[in-house]
Amino acid sequence: MSSDGQSAPAPAGTPSNAAAAPAPRRAVIVGGNRIPFARAGGAYAKSSNQDMLTAALDGLIARFGLQDERLGEVAAGAVLKHSRDFNLTREAVLGSALSAETPAYDLQQACATGLETLVGLSNKIRLGQIDSAVAGGVDSASDAPVVVSEGLRDVILDLNRARKLPQRLQILSRLRPKDLAPLAPGTAEPRTGLSMGEHQALTTAQWKITREAQDELALNSHRNLAAAYESGFFDDLITPYRGLSRDGNLRADTSADKLASLKPVFGKNLGVGATMTAGNSTPLTDGASTVLLASDEWADARDLPKLAVVVDAEAAAVDFVHGKDGLLMAPVFAVPRLLARHGLTLADFDFIEIHEAFAATVLSTLAAWEDEDFGRTRLGLDGAFGKVDRARLNVNGSSLAAGHPFAATGGRIVASLAKLLHAKGSSEGRPARGLVSVCAAGGLGVVAILESA
């Protein structure tokens, strides 16, 4: 094990302790539902997180006939969250067609929120604590919380504590005009002051990711997503909302020329050519997603489909603050650790889903895995970790085309991947395997393995 603590605990191919332990029962993915994702300020500009999560939940209930059902637990979360939404998920459950006796909790892990709810709930099912669950996530960049300035907040709180009028007047006199300006939520990393895009620009430059490669990935994302819609792939994964029946960000008619014509927006002060544009970065997005999880027994008793099994998951974090790794590079470490635990390599996966925070994030991740030196020095391997077959990568499009309502992305990816795996497993008569990788703010990353059920 190397000193940086990020290397795999065991070399690839070695059976892990987890595999040797008595097998817990399976957590299966029954299916999913999401609302189409909308660009911020668009179709869902007036929708709250609770509205959207409830809509996604109600669509899931309708698809699987879960009305009045008391589920084991519902977990979801939002990254941009109003303080009044302290019980967001529970409130969505109460507003849905589920039994009011379904417990719920909120979870927040930046963009990994959605995937982490899946991990936590599937573990509960595996342990026998619950038999059924809904994992989800929602985010609204349109209906973002706006807070008052620290100066005004200070005055209001002191006023509340003051007893006498002179005291109150004295406190009020501290107010300055600038205190009255509201504060919009920042997207900058608290410890570096850099936006996510600027952070990625550093990584993009480090791995020498070209503009052309990024635009090509973005183009494929749009083309793949559009083709999936055309084939009816999303007919049982999406329920329309507020007049939108497809992702508002999808540009089926975009082209390499159009993408190439966009001006760079991130990394303009790095001294190397800036490559990241609005076309190869995800826009701010509104949306919600849900995934229905169950034990085999629970699903069988209700004649519900079983698409895939949640096999295992791994979280990682990187020290981006001191520049040791890029902000969004945690999955680069999480995936080798997870695969090592199961004796798997990238070639063992039929589908690989890497969340497209930016096209360059995906390409930097792939570049790191293909790098001999990085594999040896940072991953503790004999050489490069491996190469992702591009034909298996984000085959039905990903966040660049669909958009990325932070906490909702995990559920989007998982439900689509589960459906893909089920189809692949059925048509080939063997278990099909899929990998999910989601990077997140704070240098976080969560990855998971799914297998056709």
Partner: protein, 446 residues
């Protein structure tokens, strides 16, 4: 909910003003509520055939107040004229005039029902004349009834008894509030088959039904009505209507299937969904349909083809899959939504009327294919129904259209749904290949 004019003339000042001015006074119709009485008063069964005695005896077992002679000035719930054995036109006089004496005693929302046999199979010209005479009699009588009372007829094929399950099923349907907007119509019972439900309020208990076009309008009410009657629902609509569909699915506690019914595999996907999720498939309601109105001179291929494809071609493809499926062989029922436009024609609706005429042709021709498994296929032809679609008709035209029937009002989506729910029940198994109009006896195209 009755239209605003109907509400106005049914209360207080509006009622007396309308009466004094001689304005039309549409009644608030008597509609079915679970647990409500079948008819709003005693039932007089007239006629002197053995069938009339048997029918009266059977109705007694429904705990109805059955009379063989009316008592003057007692409010009646229904008059049933059993005329199955008329031999010549002169035979009609006695029972018909007996009924006439009681017409003024009919309670609001009462029913007049004739039970007779088809003229086409009559053994002699005199019998045929008598039987056909009932047709004209009933249709005229229905136009004379007031206060939401309706008149309809049951035609029993020659080998079908008046107390056969489907004859009784039809009697129950017509007497009940389920037939509120069915007026001046004849329904033929051609088979002895069928079973009356153990629980009259849940005739579809244990059945699994697919309803297409269920996201809104009539389709949503069909889903609600079948659910109320005990069925488990699979509601189908286009993926783009999925949000409304989900709301309906959650309301009727069924499952939503987002599916374009014009897909080649639509029928198979319905079967697969119903069987996998609910273990069986008993009932398919072809409700999905569109209008793309244009005078024929201005018609374009897109308008014509889409209407034909969605309204009739898709139904034929789906039926083919249903008929071929081993999962649709236990007393299966198909009910299609046709339209009075397909019977009487409607300016600007050549494409729509062609498609709806097609539905009726399909239903008649598919009947024999369904009969083998104790199944049936029928259509319901709505007249003017108060829906989102008809609410877009310009006011003056809409106001004219909705008053042009014996009940002087548009029907509600639930009226169509009630007729469909009846035809989808096992009590209607002996009714096959029929088209039942739900039009309040529309004056056009009768």
């Amino acid at each position: 909910m009755a239209d605003k004019y109907t509400q106005l003339v049914n209360q207080g000042v509006g009622k007396s003003v309308a009466r004094k001015l001689g304005l039309p006074q549409p009644a608030i119709l008597r509609r079915y509520r679970p647990g409500s009485p079948l008819v709003p008063g005693p039932v007089v069964v007239l006629g002197d055939s053995p069938a009339s005695d048997k029918l009266a005896a059977e109705l007694l077992s429904w705990e109805l107040d059955i009379r063989r002679h009316a008592v003057p000035r007692e409010k009646l719930g229904a008059i049933i004229l059993v005329l199955d054995n008329v031999q010549r036109p002169e035979d009609l006089g006695r029972p018909v005039l007996a009924a006439a004496a009681s017409l003024r005693d009919l309670a609001p929302g009462a029913r007049v029902l004739t039970v007779s046999r088809p003229a086409a199979t009559a053994a002699s010209p005199a019998i045929a004349a008598a039987r056909q005479g009932i047709d004209g009699l009933l249709r005229s009588l229905a136009k004379e009834l007031r206060a939401g009372a309706t008149g309809n007829g049951i035609l029993l094929a020659d080998d079908v008894e008046a107390t056969s399950p489907s004859a009784l099923g039809a009697v129950r349907f017509f007497l009940s509030g389920r037939s509120a907007f069915v007026d001046g119509q004849f329904l033929t019972v051609s088979g002895q088959g069928g079973t009356l439900p153990p629980q009259a309020d849940t005739p579809l208990a244990g059945k699994v039904a697919v309803v297409t076009g269920a996201a809104r309008g009539i389709g949503a009410d069909i889903a609600r009505t079948l659910h109320r009657d005990g069925a488990t629902l699979v509601v189908v609509d286009l993926p783009s209507a999925g949000d409304h569909l989900a709301a309906v699915a959650n309301e009727v506690k069924g499952t939503a299937l987002q599916l374009d019914i014009t897909r080649d595999d639509a029928g198979q996907r319905m079967i697969d969904h119903a069987v996998q999720r609910h273990g069986r498939l008993d009932i398919v309601i072809h409700n999905a349909g569109i209008t793309r109105d244009k005078l024929l001179a201005n018609m374009d291929p897109a308008r014509w083809d889409s209407v034909i494809n969605i309204n009739i071609a898709s139904q034929l493809r789906i039926n083919e899959a249903l008929l071929a499926s081993k999962h649709f062989r236990s007393a299966p029922r198909i009910v299609s939504v046709a339209s009075t436009s397909g019977i009487a024609g409607n300016r600007g609706q050549t494409n729509y009327a062609a498609s709806k005429g097609g539905v009726m042709g399909m239903v008649r021709a598919t009947a024999s294919l369904m009969a083998g498994n104790g199944g049936s296929i029928n259509a319901v032809a709505p007249g003017f129904i108060e829906t989102e679609m008809t609410s877009r008709i310009p006011l003056a035209l809409r106001e004219t259209a909705r008053r042009l029937n014996s009940l002087k009002q548009g029907g509600q989506p639930v009226d169509v749904a009630e007729a469909i729910a009846f035809l989808a029940s096992d009590a209607a198994a002996g009714i096959n290949g029929e088209v039942l109009r739900v039009c309040g006896q529309n004056l056009v195209g009768a």
